[in-house]
Amino acid sequence: MAAEPAVELAGVSLSYRIPKEAVQTFKEYAIRKLQGRIEHGELVALRDATFSIAPGERVGVVGPNGAGKSTLFRVIARVRRPTRGRVVVRGRVAPLLELGLGFHGELTGRENVVLHGAVMGHSRRDMERRMDAIAEFAELEAFLDAPLRTYSTGMAARLAFAVATDVDPDILLVDEALSVGDERFQVKCHARMAGFHERGKTFLLVSHSLSEIVSNCSRALWISGGCIVQDGPADAVCAAYHAWAQGGTPA
């Protein structure tokens, strides 16, 4: 018996409402409402997307800027509810996020790890138990008690990667962020992603680096203008996308 899909989208569309004029204040809103002058434009960011991802699949998402890649992730991560259609996600989703997240830079790396874990629904005790492994992987043992604002971009990114992958989500969403740290650290990241795959975890990756997609994913989705143009083996889709991007015609 085949397992139920980890991610299932059926006819999913998402449009952003764009007010024709930005009505920011309540005063203005009330006046315009009375005059019947609230108008919205619509931007369809995702159009009738239907696909499903089996548990353990590694899927890359390619497409030009503004194609709807990030919107697709937002819909899967529950950040936005689809305007039409249905999304079903089975398992815990962890988006790979930058640390800090609007939280305070005064807090230490350690406190940020706990806070970050809490954002994903983990208790303090749980995160403290994972702390050593996270610090070791991020190679930040010596800096764990320094405020986050003193971290370099690379240090913060390493810690974020370590947290997101250590909390052991069922579905990991990675948006353009695998190129974390130096080359040596990237090797570690790839090893960890491979381990992730071995444990049957699902993994989605948005990237402009086609080689990254081909080396990390078995399947790829090509999105353009909010529509899925092609869905198939990573190397074939990437080759077709590459040909199109170079000025050729879509496959």
Partner: protein
Amino acid sequence: MTSANPAPTVYDSARGGLLFVEEAKALWLYRHLVAEIVARDIKVRYKRSVLGVAWTMLSPLLNMLAMTWVFSLVMRMDVKNFPVYFLTGSIFWAFFAGATSHAASLTIDAAEITKRVYIPRSVFVVSAVGVALVNLCLSLVPLFLIILFTGFPIHASWLFVPVSILIGALFTTGVGLVVFTLASRFVDIKETYLVLVGAWFFVTPIVYTPSIVPERWRFIVRYNPMTYLVEVFRAPLYDGWLPGPKTLAFAALAAVSSLAVGWLFYASRIEEYGRGS
């Protein structure tokens, strides 16, 4: 390793269910986040100030000295042990006003985070109330000292104070939810609310007793729910007796209705208001 993980969840965007029930479940799942946000706020606050925790206890003392001077010496307010009368009201007011205006200012944090990851936004309101609760408990210490210092006896009614605080916290959460939800959509709500709260302070018997209000204006005080909530907090500390059954009933009713209205409003509107259009 997996045993300590939260239970696997299924997210279905099409699943029905009442919004206010779904939101309540979501808040429970993210209770750890509430604890962490409260801890963060308190830590950040005390890391930055030299006086730290002492400040929370010192500020009501200074406040009391100034207000006592103004109202009992300059304005010749005739209230028995005015410092304690005033402080019991003002500490409770600081809790209410602090929590609700803090909730309004957390909308920026909330927008920043929820752009990237799903969390129920109600955690910010509950956290704001949590931070204010910690501050309230800290300011009870100087209050008790002043009560003892001014020669007030210790009363068994002090044991009722946690119940008063609970009722106050429910009311505050409800108001906080409404303010937070509106402030998520409109940038002028926070400022407007601060002005409102400033006015609300003066129609609540904190620096005066209801009896000095002229009869024709007394209805304002009578229809103000904060009158009853302040009284429920003040009675066990200042009068050394439990609040009257009528006062208690009004306060409890205000608390429950505020929470119900606030939660329903939040649950039905936050999805639309939170995304900023």
